[in-house]
Amino acid sequence: MFKYLPHTKEDIEAMLKTIGVDSIEALYQDVPKSLKHHDLSLPSSHSELELYEHFQALANDIDVLKPVIGMGAYDHYTPSIIRHIIERQEFLTSYTPYQPEISQGTLQYIFEFQSMISQLTGMEIANASLYDGATATAEAMFMICAIRKKQRILVSNTINPNIISVLKTYAHYKGITIDLLDHHEGVSSLEALKAHFTDEHAGLIVQSPNVFGLIEDYAGFKDVLEEKQGLFVINQDPSTLAHLKTPSAWGADVAVGEAQSLGLPLQFGGPYIGYLASKKAYVRKMPGRICGMTKDSEGKRAFVLTFQAREQHIRRDKANSNICSNQSLLALFVTIYLATMGKKGLYEAAQLSMDAAYTLHDRLLELPIFEPVFSGQPFFKEFTLKSTLPVNMVQEALEAHGYLGPYDLHEMGLGDGSWVSFAMTEKRTEEDVETIIKALEALV
């Protein structure tokens, strides 16, 4: 007997009798003998106490560092209530709302999630979430290619290289060609766009704040694209959207991004959550689930998945996306986060992050170790500097004080080996800044 398996000897006997066989083995009679496998070479069953002991042993081989980097994963604050709510079994253990009558809980929060993402991005319609920001960007690429029936796109090279890497993979197998748009002083350049965007391109994909942490300025971009019927995809960190001009205001056709910055735990890279929002006109090309409002037979308002035969009836071989399970629980997480923070809290958290980042930035530049890399565009909470000392020396100095950073941009093929990236959030304190500066001063 095992705690997850309620079958007693008597149960088994009675059930076998009903079935009309005399052993469970007989239920595998259709499996060719040659295939039958014996004895899994796996660890033995662990009791809960042994599991705790085991995880303690693993944890002993882990040093948790305080990040002063981001690169797509930000150490923001999580309001305490969220875990309590998302762990309610009604949310946690249910599946896709196939039976809307008993899934109004899930459907309602998806509706609220869509509404909030629309508010943040300014877009008309958002979906119920995608795997992560990188795959969401790939889905956006598929989407605009399908809308424009073109197989070529332009991608700014200020996008985080991991996202570009994912785009390249998705594009390659689908037969889409990616052209890269060069940056000017660390941001996507209007001049370069004018020079390189052609009729062949379905559209342009950019990111803001970009891989260098810089806020991009898309003034004029939309005009250039419209001339060639190019669609405009903006990937943006949603935690910046209480401050920054929205994708919609820049003229985006599709807004995508990674919403981990909305309080999700770092969790070594996942689960995170991608979002995708667009103009209503493109709804039938949107990947993923969409929830809509309707009425029940008695006229009560209620919610359903709408617009597409997804799931088991997914458009099969006419599909433009294959996503089925998404990151629903994280959509709930983000929804509660945004409800808790509200418009003011989202602004404040971002402002505190920015204030901490600018402070650190300015203090670092006072040291003889760092120099600016770009001039021009301001950054948000993440910034890039040039280090005159070997990067690993700087990293080790901080690690000795329990900090993770700075990130060596060369690991992503950016810069000349001296470029480093820092990021701050509202969790980092004045004391953190002092400790970091002191640790680095010791190097000079």
């Binding site: 009903t18 004895d39 996942g270 294959n322």
Partner: protein
Amino acid sequence: MSYYDTLIFDLSTHARKGYTLPKRTFKRQALPTHLLREDCPGLPEVSEVEVVRHYTNVSMKNFGIETGMYPLGSCTMKYNPKINQDLANLPSFSALHPYQPTRTVQGMLKLLDDLQSYLSEISGLARYTLNSYAGAHGELIGLMIMKRYFESRGEHHRVNIIVPDAAHGTNPASAVVAGFKVIEVPSEKDGSVSVEVLKGVVDENLAGIMLTNPNTLGMFEKDILNVAELIHDHGGLLYYDGANLNPILGKVRPGDMGFDIMHINLHKTFSTPHGGGGPGSGPVGVAEHLVPFLPKPLIKKVDNTYHIERDNETTLGQISHFYGNVGVAMKAYTYILSNGKEHLPEVAKFAVLNANYVKESLKDLFELPVEGVCKHEFVFNGLKDKSTGVTTLDVAKRLLDFGVHPPTIYFPLLYKEALMIEPVETESKQTLDRFIEVMRVIAKEAKETPEVVKGAPHNTIVKRLDEALAARQPVVKYTDIPK
């Protein structure tokens, strides 16, 4: 109690607050105005108790596995142990940034690498990546591996992927998204693929086939070794959709059946919760000759140290920003260790026992298209007595009145009134007996008072929904709601 029909936006009141943030003394930074938004995002302004009370009431409109039985075919809605959650939430693991130096995260990497090995052992495939976020994502990656493999051999013409018509919709969709051509083949009455039919479609353009075994009807594909031989003989590869792995844990291994690539749905077989539709995790495993093509980055053990290999010559590329849904993987890891080698095979056995028990107990009233032992699930083609006009949809909706989550309906497409039942091993005989009893009551009602069944549900907080209206007059966000 009264129906909770409030949206979080309805509760919003100007200047109310639900958060606290620290006071810091950093200088306040101002950005140039041309980069700033002019309006304010219309997020709710509510107090903490309002948020908590709201989502608690919203949760009460949902049915979870701990509410009652959830025999949703193809989804393996087994009990999700709490210990999985507790261990994944341990700060030593959950607070880790993905770019911590590998030196500082050996315990985390060991866990992930061990999980990869356990999945190999369970499935008979050489190596796994955990980077894939869900089943469908796994399919896509698996197909990319196939393509990369053929590219590496210069066999660019191999673009045909065979998919049985009974397959899950994601199978053909993934094939298309990976840039393949889908060759749909008809299934036999028992959901199996016939070697004869396959012979008609295998040619020099063959890339591979996507199957699941037990198949979509829950029947074991007895001919699987012949199918594998045929495909391999024609230079193709076999992809295994791991959604149906539960009934063969420790019994048969896809790798041994001849499959070259597969994904595993950790959220199904390995009990990490489904979370209302995600996050899942769909690790992809491959046979030895395909290992070079696995996506990057890859967690690897070399000389007792764990590394993250960020690039290599042969990889198919990158398909996720970091290393997949690590938090989900931790739960599956916990589940494997909890069960251990002793109980994992029992999981399979009892899943199969439960399915056959329910099938045999109901087949006098529901139409069973395929006789014989099934594995973890089976499909009825609606009520046996078709004269009542009561459809599978009606039966499903009537189940709601009895507090039972309905099975999967109208899938697979093979049967018009498909009702796909997967009772899972964590359900006791008593629970199954109650389900059987309720199903029998409904069958009786269908005869005697069909209008009761057709009008169902009667006891739910909302009644049947007008799905057409939602598509006709799209209201997809708060501001779309007519005032």
